[in-house]
């Protein structure tokens, strides 16, 4: 019967041009039983948050290669909060230097994944994190 799935938005903000990584991650998450909305290239933070709202996702994953990560993550977080979507788990990956990653994680972007991460690890991390946040929500 009906059951609650994990719904993820995989988005590719910024201007750099290829989305192979994002597509791979989207496919892996699907293979782990998740429902994955994929939106294509060049999304602005506003558009990403708007799609997250329309789709009522549990997770937003950003794929970033452009080096703009230090500003993009906080901007997406802010746009989500403005729309009442502060509960969404924001994560991401790409080419992010270790010290930036540590800094962002400290600012509350739960967990980021660098190049060479096993994609299965991302899926498993999301599964655990969503289960935990649903349990704390009490629903």
């Amino acid at each position: 019967m009906a059951q609650r799935k994990i719904k993820v938005l995989v988005a590719k903000p910024g201007l750099d041009g290829h989305d192979r990584g994002a597509k791979t991650v989207a496919t892996v998450l699907r293979d782990h039983g998740m429902e994955v909305v994929y939106t294509g290239l060049h999304q602005t933070p506003e558009m990403i948050a708007e799609v997250a709202l329309q789709e009522d996702v549990d997770v937003v994953g950003l794929s970033i290669l452009s080096g703009a990560h230090m500003s993009l993550f906080p901007r997406v977080r802010k746009e989500l909060e403005v729309r009442g979507m502060g509960h969404v788990l924001l994560t991401g990956g790409g080419i992010i230097p270790a010290e930036d990653m540590a800094e962002l994680e400290k600012e509350g972007f739960t967990r980021l994944f660098g190049p060479g991460t096993r994609t299965d690890d991302i899926a498993e991390w999301i599964q655990t994190a969503v289960e935990k946040s649903r349990a704390s929500e009490g629903v």
């Binding site: 496919t27 799609v51 009522d56 629903v139």
Partner: protein, 329 residues
């Protein structure tokens, strides 16, 4: 937004977050959904529901994007529900229809929701009609329902939509295949998309012939066959015009009965689901099936026993009783 009262009040005040959450409740079979639906149900029935179906890759999403664009020019608000298939193996889904509708994301008069088909096999999801009811109550003027790419037998959209567009394109089979698949029977409007491609004229002629040689439909509606190039936005106004004409046609006659049937179907669906839960949720019936099979009865004999015990109203009785009951029949 934890209870039915709050969510329905917020939805009716125009809160899109409430709209999104209520659709999730419908999808997940959340037990707060029925109560929230009844609080908004008096607002259902104003939007027009157009279903867009056809084979994979025919251009359904691209056309939906264009239909929405033209509707918006006429100041009509648009709610879109785009269904993509779930994997029967992992239960996961890649929802990619909205990639073709990117331009619409910035428009506050358009709402786009992707939906995985989950355990349904009819081209839409179990929750599609519920989600349309929710979008309708929210107040969208036009509701567009894109089905999964259909093959030869997935036509549940007929029960979900007021007007059904069937989108075909050259290269995805000829007119004969469309007839075999029953696509012509479900279409209120036939669209030959990718008219810029070789073979489009031929397909157009084939379909026109097929439509004209068929007996007149019992509802007296003549199915138009319209060419489009969805990527270039060509022919879209004519499609919308056909939708409006079909709407006027239904409103002058069958609309009430079409919608009534949709509600009857919904009731049957809910009863079926609840029964299934009631029957197989506990272990008793499952145990009875195992016992029957252990006695080497055929699946039919066991089913007969099970049915007799259910219909006899003695679900809890030991297997022996139902056997004698089944024998008496």
């Amino acid at each position: 937004m934890k209870d039915a009262e709050t969510i329905s009040a917020r939805l009716l005040s125009g809160d899109r977050l409430a709209l999104s959450r209520m659709i999730s409740w419908a999808e997940d079979g959340d037990d707060r959904f029925p109560a929230s639906l009844s609080r908004i149900y008096s607002k259902v029935g104003r939007g027009w529901r157009t279903g867009i179906t056809g084979p994979p890759g025919a251009g359904k999403s691209t056309l939906v994007n264009e239909l929405a664009r033209v509707f918006r020019q006429g100041e009509r608000t648009v709610g879109i529900l785009a269904v993509d298939p779930s994997s029967p193996f992992t239960g996961g889904a890649l929802l990619g229809d909205r990639i073709r509708m990117e331009e619409r994301t910035k428009d506050p008069g358009v709402y786009i929701r992707s939906m995985a088909s989950r355990e349904s096999h009819g081209g839409i999801a179990r929750a599609t009609v519920d989600a349309c009811d929710v979008m309708d109550a929210f107040g969208f003027d036009e509701l567009l329902i894109e089905t999964v790419g259909v093959g030869q037998a997935e036509y549940d959209v007929v029960t979900a939509a007021d007007t059904v567009l069937v989108v075909l394109c050259p290269g995805a089979g000829d007119g004969i295949q469309a007839m075999k698949a029953g696509l012509l029977e479900v279409a209120d409007v036939l669209v030959v998309n990718k008219k810029d491609r070789d073979g489009a004229d031929r397909l157009l002629v084939d379909l026109e012939e097929a439509v004209h040689t068929r007996e007149v439909r019992t509802d007296q509606w003549e199915v138009p066959v319209l060419p489009t190039n969805a990527v270039a936005g060509e022919g879209v106004e004519a499609v919308i015009d056909a939708v409006h004409r079909h709407r006027a046609h239904l409103e002058a006659g069958l609309l009430e009965s079409v919608r009534r049937r949709r509600r009857v179907d919904q009731v049957k669906r809910v009863v079926g689901e609840r029964l299934e839960d009631e029957l197989w949720g506990g272990r008793r019936l499952g145990d009875r099936v195992e016992e029957g099979l252990d006695r080497a009865s055929t699946p039919y004999d066991v089913a007969e026993e099970v049915l007799a015990s259910i219909l006899g109203g003695n679900l809890g009785a030991p297997a022996g009783d139902s056997r004698s009951e089944a024998a008496r029949r």
